[in-house]
């Protein structure tokens, strides 16, 4: 199965450990990019090494897949992943980390392609996103992309001495 594909002006490809370290760190060191998850910004090389190790291991275990999303100028504009793939229940979590250089139109094309890939090629039935409930930009994007709000799960994480609730949004195969 080919996990790399083109969606409109965007290339979605699996990361390459040797050459992608710097560009991934450039994206993920911006605090706002991962704040909705939430996750610490990626400041140090050790964090990048760990991230790549996890991405490879989790993909090998068919538990997750991570796509680097590049625009027509070969610039990384997002990392989008599916995680916690449950092949029995045919569901997975989707997570995105977006730069300011991808807008709703671009994201619509990319997410639509990922949905097609997940529902048609992987046979999944449900994609859900869990994120902090107070990040309006992401909520607007989810609504525009056809995700439905399902509720908010309390105290799912502890991050920077704060209990973090996570809102659940999902989209189903038709």
């Amino acid at each position: 199965m080919n996990w790399n594909f083109i969606a409109g002006d965007y290339l979605l490809r699996l990361p390459v450990a040797d050459s992608d370290r710097t560009i991934l760190q450039t994206l993920l060191q911006v605090p706002e990019v991962s704040a909705h998850i939430p996750r610490l910004p990626m400041y140090f090389e050790a964090q990048v090494d760990d991230e790549f190790r996890q991405m490879v291991q989790r993909f090998d275990a068919r538990e997750a897949a991570f796509w680097m999303v590049e625009n027509s100028e070969d610039k990384l504009v997002a990392r989008i992943s599916i995680q916690h793939i449950n092949w029995l229940q045919r569901s997975a979590y989707i997570q995105w980390e977006l730069s300011d250089e991808i807008d709703l139109d671009g994201l619509s094309v990319v997410v639509s392609a990922i949905k097609d890939f997940c529902f048609k090629n992987l046979g999944l039935h449900r994609l859900e996103m869990r994120l902090r409930p107070d990040f309006q930009r992401h909520i607007q994007l989810l609504e525009a992309l056809g995700f439905e709000y399902e509720g908010c799960l309390p105290e799912q994480l502890e991050f920077q001495n704060e209990n973090i609730d996570l809102a659940v949004w999902s989209v189903l195969a038709k």
Partner: protein, 205 residues
Amino acid sequence: MKFTPELEFEGGKVRPLTLDDLDHLWNIYQQPELPGQSKPKEKEQLARLVDYSIKMAATQRGMMWLLEVDGQVLGMVNVYDWQASLLRLTMRVDGLPELSIKHRQAALSACMDFLAKKYHTRNFAYQWIDGQKEEIRTMLTNLGFELRATLRDAWRVGNSGFANIEQYHLLNNQEKPKAGRLGEFDNPAQNINKDVPTETQKETK
């Protein structure tokens, strides 16, 4: 070493699984409560479940109890998706048709009390799957659980069907241990047997 304790509740008890329980497990799994749950074909398959229950408890990933009422095994209490560091987990009680809601509730409550005391669990989740007995929802409300999300088509039923999951949560009032060195803030560090005094108790002192 025993990781799953025997706990008593009014009218019955919960206890760990042993290899002598294969007939009991077979009986429970032949009458599944969960929509779409398949039945095991051979009793020997359930021996793996006993082994699994010990490993899960030893590594703090899950816990399984058999539920007895008046000496009769009528169900199981399960802990899964246990995030010990985050002080949260998910629970479920699977019972035979004759298990009353009163005993189901008492057994669940006894297990939750144990988990709150022993492992400082604060956040209990319970997933009710569309198609299960309605009275289970009432039981959850009685215990103080609140419906927090309805996960659409999140439970697979058969080859092509799906059911919604209602996810309930109960947050207990137990204070979280503060991070610090051993002894600092009267911190229990990794000694999970040590009680953590609440703010009220500290003020009383």
